[in-house]
């Protein structure tokens, strides 16, 4: 046998292998397409409901233990695996019972007594009782808390702030008592959040178990597998304790498709049933192909913050002139079309304390021009981010350039200094600037979650460095006041102060957009950014 013979043989073998692969590929294509032509899912159950629903999102979850993550992609999956002590109503941020009934609250607002449902089990068969809930909270309290628990201090407070959970006691299997350091009305809403609050089985994180990759909850779906970069597979929890929320579909698959247009093609090609994270530019592709569009107001605010402690806009008249120079309504309609609403308040328009009588500074370029001339302001510097954000789908650069155009009309040259989002978060803390773009996605549906930003000592939250003792006092008052008209009035006063003093120029509230197959029923994108899949079905 010569070397030449071997080479030729191998060449022929290689050709054969490629041909075989191609043949199998075509067989694969044909079988798959044939299956879809027969009515979509080949694994349909006898009830006429498909056994599998596939949801495509833009990225992997950061992890699947709610104590260690802060991203929406994780929250969407986790809310189907875990239960929370309390829950949000299906379509609003009103609180309803979860693992526990609504709690008894002591007169001083410090002690919450929760009565848990009896006999609830985690997916591994262990008891989901008061002791398990206590352990889940205790691991996120100081001194057990670690720095990489991003939502622990928000949900459960901290010693330094003098707020949050002081202690947790499991009185018996079904009675849990939580004592707060100070009265806090938003606490009850925190107990329904998809981050930090969900109850993880102790067996998932004790004795070296890895709850981040192998989650165990008590929710309507059980975790099956996570192929990094590809998908997370969940299966129905047939023994789910909550008869009103029994899972209707056998398998739920979350797939990760980063590219916006690829996600849309996957939907219209029948590979997935629901997609989110889309922007307005792909909406016609979805609707023209006969697919459904979900667009409801989101829980967010897109704003521009003035630097209140230094620079060109420390004077309220300078800030007023800036706001007069920009036609916010025209700009929002031009940049976002019908998929964002013009902001007339810090809080989204659908949240309870919203008051339509509170007005932001009206567009008046002539007045702006005169004020800027009087104050001698001819230039300023804006920091901007480049990436699209949940509250600003077109990215910060395009928004900054639009504002720059309006300012030029009134004789002010604005320099834009932009960075990618990661770098930007550091730059707003360290660099000098006159104004900057920012935004916020609400966590728990409570007005404090939005209005507190302007009272926060932390510069990464209060990027404009707004300081007002009067405002801070209102925020403290709101925290300790029971829900109702009196509390709403407090936040209306806060909104009025923002409108009068203009620490921010509020711009828009973005809508939550998702596309889904017309075969899908029961789909709703909750304002908190999660999707509960137990009620979602697909016609086979």
């Amino acid at each position: 046998m010569t070397m030449a013979d071997i080479s030729r043989r191998r060449f022929v073998q290689a050709m054969g292998a490629v041909s075989a692969t191609s043949v199998f590929a075509l067989v694969g294509c044909n079988s798959q397409r044939a299956s879809e032509a027969d009515g979509g899912e080949g694994d349909a159950s006898e009830s006429g409901i498909a056994d599998t629903i596939t949801f495509a999102q833009g990225a992997d979850p950061r992890g699947l233990d709610p104590a260690y993550v802060d991203d929406g992609e994780s929250a969407k999956i986790m809310c189907n695996i875990y239960d929370t002590l309390l829950a949000y109503d299906t379509e609003t941020c009103d609180i309803v019972p979860g693992l526990a009934e609504l709690p008894d609250v002591s007169d001083d607002g410090l002690t919450y007594t929760f009565k848990l449902h009896e006999g609830v089990k985690f997916h591994d068969g262990t008891d989901c009782n008061a002791e398990a809930v206590k352990k889940n909270i205790d691991r996120q309290l100081e001194p057990n808390r670690t720095e990489d628990m991003p939502y622990a201090s928000f949900v459960f407070g901290s010693e330094a702030s003098g707020s949050g959970v002081a202690s947790v006691e499991a009185v018996d299997d079904t009675t849990l008592v939580i004592t707060l350091r100070a009265a806090s009305t938003p606490f009850i809403k925190n107990m329904a959040m998809a981050l930090a609050a969900p109850v993880v089985a102790p067996s998932a994180y004790e004795n070296g178990a890895n709850s981040i990759e192998n989650p165990i909850g008590s929710g309507p779906y059980k975790f099956v597998s996570w192929s990094k970069g590809e998908n997370v597979v969940l299966e129905a929890n047939e023994d789910y304790w909550n008869a009103d929320h029994m899972p209707q579909t056998k398998n739920v698959i979350f797939r990760f498709i980063a590219e916006n247009s690829s996600r849309v093609t996957a939907l219209t090609n029948g590979e997935v049933d629901i997609i989110d994270g889309i922007d307005a530019s792909v909406v016609p592709t979805i609707t023209d192909a006969g697919y459904e569009l979900f667009d409801e107001d989101g829980m967010n605010i897109n704003y521009m913050a003035f630097r209140n402690d230094s620079g060109a806009f420390t004077d309220v008249e300078a800030r007023r002139a800036f706001c007069q120079a920009v036609n916010v309504e025209e700009m929002v309609q031009s940049l976002y079309g019908e998929y964002a609403g013009v902001a007339t308040s810090v809080m989204p328009l659908w949240m309870a304390p919203y008051d339509e009588d509170i007005k932001q500074t009206a567009y008046d370029p002539e007045a702006a021009k005169q004020t800027f001339a009087d104050l001698g302001i001819t230039s300023c510097t804006m920091l901007a981010y480049t990436n699209p954000r949940p509250y600003n789908s077109i990215g910060g650069q395009a928004l900054a350039e639009a504002i720059q155009g309006y300012l030029r009309e009134v004789g002010v040259e604005m320099e834009i200094v932009s960075y990618d989002w990661t770098t930007y978060q550091t730059k707003v803390e360290t660099d000098a600037f006159d104004c900057c773009l920012y935004g916020w996605v609400g966590d728990n549906g409570d007005p404090d979650n939005f209005m507190n930003l302007l009272a926060d000592e932390n510069v990464s939250m209060n990027v404009g460095r707004y300081r007002s003792e009067e405002y801070n006092a209102l925020i403290q008052q709101g925290l300790a006041t029971e829900e109702g008209d009196a509390r709403n009035d407090i936040y209306k006063q806060c909104e009025q102060m923002v409108a009068d003093e203009m620490p921010w120029m509020v711009i828009s509230h973005s809508k939550n957009l998702a596309g889904y197959s017309p075969k899908v029923q029961g789909f709703f994108y909750h304002p908190t950014g999660v999707v509960h899949m137990e009620g979602v079905t697909k016609t086979a």
Partner: protein, 338 residues
Amino acid sequence: MLKYVLKRILLAIPVLLGVSIIVFLIMRVFSADPAPVVLGQHATAEAMEAWRDANGLNDPIVMQYVNFITGALHGDLGESYYTHAAVTDELLSRFPATVELALVAIVIAAVVGVALGVVSATHKNSPIDGLATILALVGVSMPIFWLGVLLIILFAGVLHVLPSSGRIDPLLAPVGGTGLYLLDTLLSGDFEAFADAASHIVLPALALSMYSMAVITRMTRSSMLETLNEDYVRTARAKGLKKRRVDIHHALRNAMLPVTTVIGLQLGSLLGGAMLTETVFAWPGIGKYVVDCILKSDFPVVQGAVLLIAVIFVVINLVVDVIYAYLDPRISYGKEEG
């Protein structure tokens, strides 16, 4: 030969050290602070500082590098800041996808590229040669991202005959095995899953192979033309051997020497991760993952991945050199060294 291989392995050590120093410095000097990304929007300045301390980011940079390289030498590349998972696990879980795509792409590129190059050279200046030249030109100049989108639009968006993204139907995915789905499903006899995996890899492999195919075609053509003008080829023809036998047995083998180098280097590039292809087709390989980690300033992952890619390049270069000796008996590294 063994001595040569050992020498090459020793020479790889300074190369890998150099690569690790460069990527370490680039990440530390030019990347954003990872603390805000890792700790999220509620993090206080104190919490961020404590986290930096805990992760050694406030240590002198030389000490940080020494800690990293000491860990790497013990097979510990650290943990991802963002996901807490071991970097080795994160990379290994994605590496089979990259390997599978790269292998299928390089097989397509090599088979089609060599065939086109040979036909083009043996039919010089014919319409076939012209067509091959145009194909090669298109392959080199067409951006993979754009080609990928075109393929998706045509085969998934319009014709609906192939899936646009992913590796396999998640419910058919093989458990365990090598992580190469085509191989695992074939070995387990699950032909439905094999067909599904094959249908998923067609479009990304085609898109990814196009550039390599064009390069291999041009290299094969020019190398074949040079070889066909050699005296021994003329002698073979003068002996009355059939043209096909002379072209394939006498000319092609010698012409394959430079082509082998190109194929090896192309495979090295593809194994390093095809970021654009992986993004467009949602292919869960390391290319896109590493870019995501660069944007999140996830230092341990980026450092580990670049080190892994450097090792792959070094190994592939070594393998190519060894294959040289097999293809050309005149080359003997052992004698040169002796």
